[in-house]
C-alpha cells in the first residue's frame, strides 16, 4: 500500500495525454508523498485511480439513463454503496495529491487560488448542463399530454417561472434530477484550501475534524436547503468525510493503513461485509426474501441514507477499497493492457467525461421518449454512450498533447489534470 502514495514522475508516466503537465510532474515529490518503496521500478502515475474513476464514470452514466436494463450491472444493485462513493473518494485523493504538492511548493495562497479556479470551472460546467437540461425538459413538457400523468406533469411547473428557477439554479439550490454530484463537488472544493492546509500541518487532526463534522451532521441534521423545498440530495457536510478521507490517504494515510490492509483479518472482514451487503440487497430485488432479514436487523439498518452517506454505505466502500488495493497492486500488469485503456483515459478527464455522461443520459432519455424505449434500444444507447465517452476522452487527450507541445516547456501552472486525472 505504501506505493499508493508515491508521487508520479514524468519518466514513469506510462499513459499518453499527460505531456502538457510534465513540467509540473518533474518537480520533486513533496514531503508527505515521499516514496517509501524508493528504488523500485520507476514510479508512474497510479493508473488504478484513473481506471476506477473511469469505471465509476461509466457506471454513473448507466445509472442515470432512466429505466435502463444495463444498469443492472452496476454495483449499486449488489451492495450498499455505488459509483458515487468511488468517484468522490478518488476525487479527494487526486485533489490532495495535486494541490497538496502545489501548496507545499508554492504556498497556501497559490494552491488555494488554483483550487478555487477549479471550483469555478465545475460551477460553469454545472450551469452549462443545466441549460441543456432545461432544453430537454421544455421539449418533453411541450409535447406531452397524457391523461394518465396529470399529476406527474405538475413537476414541470417550474418552467412557468423561469425567473425564479434560473436564479435558484445559479444559487445551486434548484436541483435537477441527476445533477447533484457537481454542486457537492463545488462545495467540497470551496472548503478544500483550509482542509488541505490542515491535512498538511496535521493529517490526523484534519481527519478527526472531518469525522466530527460527519457525526455532528447526523446528530443535528445539518444540510443545505434547496428549492422549492427539501435539502441537497448529497449532503456536503456528510459526504465531505469520503472526500477528506481520500485526501488523507493521498497525503500519507494510505501508508499508515498499509499494515492493516495487508492483514488477512481485514480481508475476511471485508469479504464478510460485502457478502452481507449483497445478501441484504438481494432482499430488495426479491421482496419475498425479506423474511430472512430479522426484524431487529431491519429496524437497526433501515433506512440506508444516501443523502447523509450512511455508515453502512461508507463501510461498504471501505471494504471494496480494501479488497481492491489488496488484489489490484499498483504495478498490476493488466493496467498496461490495451482493453483497459478506454476506462483509464476516461478517468483521466473526469470532469469533462462526467458532464458528458450527464448530457448523454439526457440524450438517451430523449431518444427513448421520442422513438422507442425497448430493451435493445436501452442496450444500444448504453453502449453508444460509453463509446462516445471514450472517443471524447481520446480527443481531449490529443488536444492537451497538441497544446502541450505548442507551449513548449514554458512553465504552465499545473492544473489538476495530472496525477490520476483532474482533482
Amino acid at each position: 500500500m505504501d506505493s499508493f502514495v508515491q508521487a508520479p514522475t514524468a519518466s514513469g508516466a506510462a499513459v499518453q495525454g499527460t505531456t502538457g503537465q510534465d513540467s509540473a510532474a518533474e518537480r520533486p515529490a513533496p514531503a508527505p508523498a515521499t516514496a517509501s518503496s524508493a528504488g523500485a521500478a520507476p514510479a508512474g502515475r497510479d493508473l488504478r485511480l484513473d481506471l476506477f474513476r473511469g469505471l465509476a464514470l461509466w457506471l454513473i452514466f448507466l445509472d442515470h439513463v432512466p429505466n435502463n436494463i444495463v444498469a443492472w450491472f452496476t454495483i449499486r444493485n449488489y451492495g450498499f454503496s455505488d459509483a458515487t462513493e468511488i468517484f468522490i473518494f478518488i476525487s479527494g485523493y487526486t485533489a490532495a495529491f495535486v494541490y497538496g504538492r502545489a501548496m507545499i511548493s508554492r504556498g497556501f495562497v497559490v494552491a488555494g487560488a488554483r483550487i478555487l479556479k477549479r471550483a469555478w470551472q465545475i460551477y460553469v460546467a454545472h450551469i452549462f448542463l443545466f441549460a441543456i437540461y432545461i432544453a430537454e425538459i421544455s421539449y418533453v413538457a411541450s409535447s406531452f399530454e397524457n391523461p394518465l400523468y396529470v399529476e406527474e406533469m405538475n413537476a414541470l411547473d417550474f418552467l412557468k417561472q423561469p425567473e425564479i428557477t434560473i436564479i435558484q439554479a445559479l444559487l445551486l439550490k434548484f436541483k435537477p434530477v441527476n445533477m447533484d454530484v457537481l454542486p457537492l463537488y463545488i462545495v467540497l472544493l470551496l472548503l478544500f484550501p483550509l482542509v488541505l492546509w490542515l491535512l498538511i500541518r496535521n493529517a490526523s487532526i484534519a481527519l478527526a475534524a472531518s469525522v466530527a463534522l460527519y457525526v455532528m451532521t447526523w446528530e443535528f441534521g445539518w444540510n443545505i436547503p434547496s428549492y422549492p423545498s427539501g435539502h441537497w440530495y448529497f449532503n456536503p457536510f456528510a459526504w465531505q468525510l469520503l472526500f477528506v478521507f481520500g485526501a488523507w490517504c493521498a497525503l500519507g494515510g494510505a501508508g499508515r493503513l498499509a499494515a492493516a490492509l495487508r492483514s488477512p483479518v481485514t480481508m475476511w472482514l471485508a469479504i464478510g461485509y460485502l457478502a452481507f451487503g449483497f445478501a441484504v440487497t438481494l432482499t430488495w430485488h426479491f421482496p419475498r426474501l425479506a423474511v430472512f432479514v430479522p426484524h431487529w436487523l431491519s429496524e437497526w439498518m433501515y433506512p440506508i441514507d444516501k443523502t447523509n452517506l450512511d455508515v453502512l454505505r461508507f463501510v461498504h466502500f471501505l471494504a471494496l477499497a480494501a479488497l481492491t488495493v489488496r488484489f489490484v497492486p499498483r504495478d498490476w500488469p493488466a493496467l498496461q493492457l490495451k482493453w483497459l485503456q478506454p476506462a483509464i483515459i476516461c478517468g483521466q478527464h473526469s470532469l469533462e467525461i462526467f458532464c458528458l455522461g450527464v448530457f448523454l443520459a439526457f440524450a438517451a432519455h430523449f431518444v427513448m421518449v421520442e422513438y422507442y424505449g425497448g430493451l435493445h434500444i436501452q442496450v444500444l444507447l448504453s453502449l453508444a454512450g460509453i463509446v462516445i465517452m471514450i472517443g471524447v476522452a481520446h480527443l481531449i487527450s490529443w488536444y492537451k498533447r497538441v497544446e502541450g507541445r505548442g507551449s513548449g516547456s514554458s512553465k504552465k501552472p499545473p492544473d489538476a489534470d495530472l496525477a490520476g486525472g483532474e482533482a
Partner: protein, 256 residues
C-alpha cells in the same frame, strides 16, 4: 383462380389469424404480473375478520391526482371504482364499498392529518393510501416524507384499520424530471417496518410497459391507455387484498 382471388384469400386467412390471436390475448389475463411483484407476507387481518363476521368490506382510497382520471366519467374508470367492481365480482356474497378520497397537491403529511377524520367517517376497515407523487414533485425532504407515512400508518393501525400502501406511477416521460427513488424507498421501508402490504404500482406498471401491455411513453390525449391501466390496477389490487386477507374468492374471469 385469378391472382386477385388468391390475394383475397390470403388477406382473409391473415385477418382470421389476427382475430384469433387478438381473441386469445383477450382471454389471457392481460393485467397479469408475476406473483413476487404483487404478493408479500404482510396480512390484512382486520379485513379477514370483517368479511368473515359481517360480510362487508368498506374500503377508502386516500390518494392524489394519480388515483383519479380526468373528465366527467373519469371517476367511473379510475382504479377505485374498478377495484370495487373487481372485488364485488370476486366476492359475490360480500358487500364491498370503495370510497375515493382524493385531493390534488397533497403531501403525505397533509394526507396523514386527514386520517383521524376518515377513521370516524366513513370508518373503513381497509385504507389504501396512495402517496409519494406530490412529495417527489414538490421535493419534500425524503426523510420527512418517510416520517409522515410512518405516522399515518401508525394512526390507521391504532384506529383499527388495515392499510395497503401504494407508491407512484411508472412515468417514463417524466423520469428525468422527477426523482422518485427516495420516496419509493421510503414507502417500502415504512411498509416493512409496520408489516403493511405495498401495491408496488411503480414496478407493476413498469412490468406492463416492458411486457408490451401498455405504451406508457405515448403522447396522447386519448383515454384508452389510461382507462386500461386503471382497470388493471383495480383488478390487481383486488388480487392483492384477497391474497393478503386470505379470503375465499372466485377466480377472476374478466368481469365485464
Amino acid at each position: 383462380m385469378s391472382m386477385w382471388t388468391a390475394v383475397g384469400r390470403a388477406v382473409a386467412v391473415a385477418a382470421l389469424v389476427l382475430c384469433t390471436a387478438g381473441a386469445r390475448a383477450q382471454v389471457a389475463d392481460s393485467c397479469a404480473v408475476p406473483g413476487y411483484l404483487l404478493f408479500g407476507d404482510s396480512l390484512l387481518q382486520r379485513v379477514n375478520a370483517a368479511v368473515a363476521k359481517d360480510k362487508t368490506l368498506k374500503i377508502v382510497v386516500l390518494g392524489g391526482t394519480s388515483s383519479t382520471l380526468p373528465g366527467p366519467d373519469g371517476a367511473a374508470f379510475a382504479y377505485p371504482a374498478r377495484l370495487e367492481a373487481a372485488l364485488s365480482h370476486r366476492l359475490p356474497d360480500v358487500k364491498v364499498t370503495v370510497t375515493a378520497v382524493t385531493k390534488p397537491r397533497q403531501s403525505a403529511d397533509e394526507m396523514a392529518g386527514n386520517i383521524d377524520n376518515l377513521l370516524l367517517d366513513p370508518k373503513p376497515v381497509l385504507m389504501i393510501w396512495q402517496t409519494g407523487t406530490y412529495d417527489a414533485v414538490h421535493g419534500t425532504d425524503p426523510e420527512e416524507f418517510r416520517a409522515a407515512v410512518a405516522d399515518g400508518v401508525e394512526r390507521l393501525q391504532a384506529g383499527g384499520a388495515d392499510v395497503v400502501l401504494m407508491n407512484m406511477q411508472y412515468s417514463p416521460r417524466t423520469e428525468s424530471v422527477v426523482a422518485i427513488g427516495a420516496y419509493a424507498d421510503g414507502i417500502r421501508w415504512v411498509a416493512r417496518e409496520r408489516e403493511v402490504p405495498v401495491f408496488d404500482r411503480l414496478a407493476i406498471m413498469r412490468y406492463w410497459y416492458e411486457a408490451g401491455q401498455f405504451d406508457l411513453y405515448a403522447k396522447t390525449k386519448d383515454m384508452k391507455v389510461a382507462k386500461g391501466v386503471h382497470d388493471c390496477i383495480g383488478r390487481e389490487l383486488a388480487a392483492l387484498i384477497i391474497d393478503a386477507a386470505h379470503l375465499e374468492a372466485r377466480d377472476e374471469a374478466a368481469p365485464k
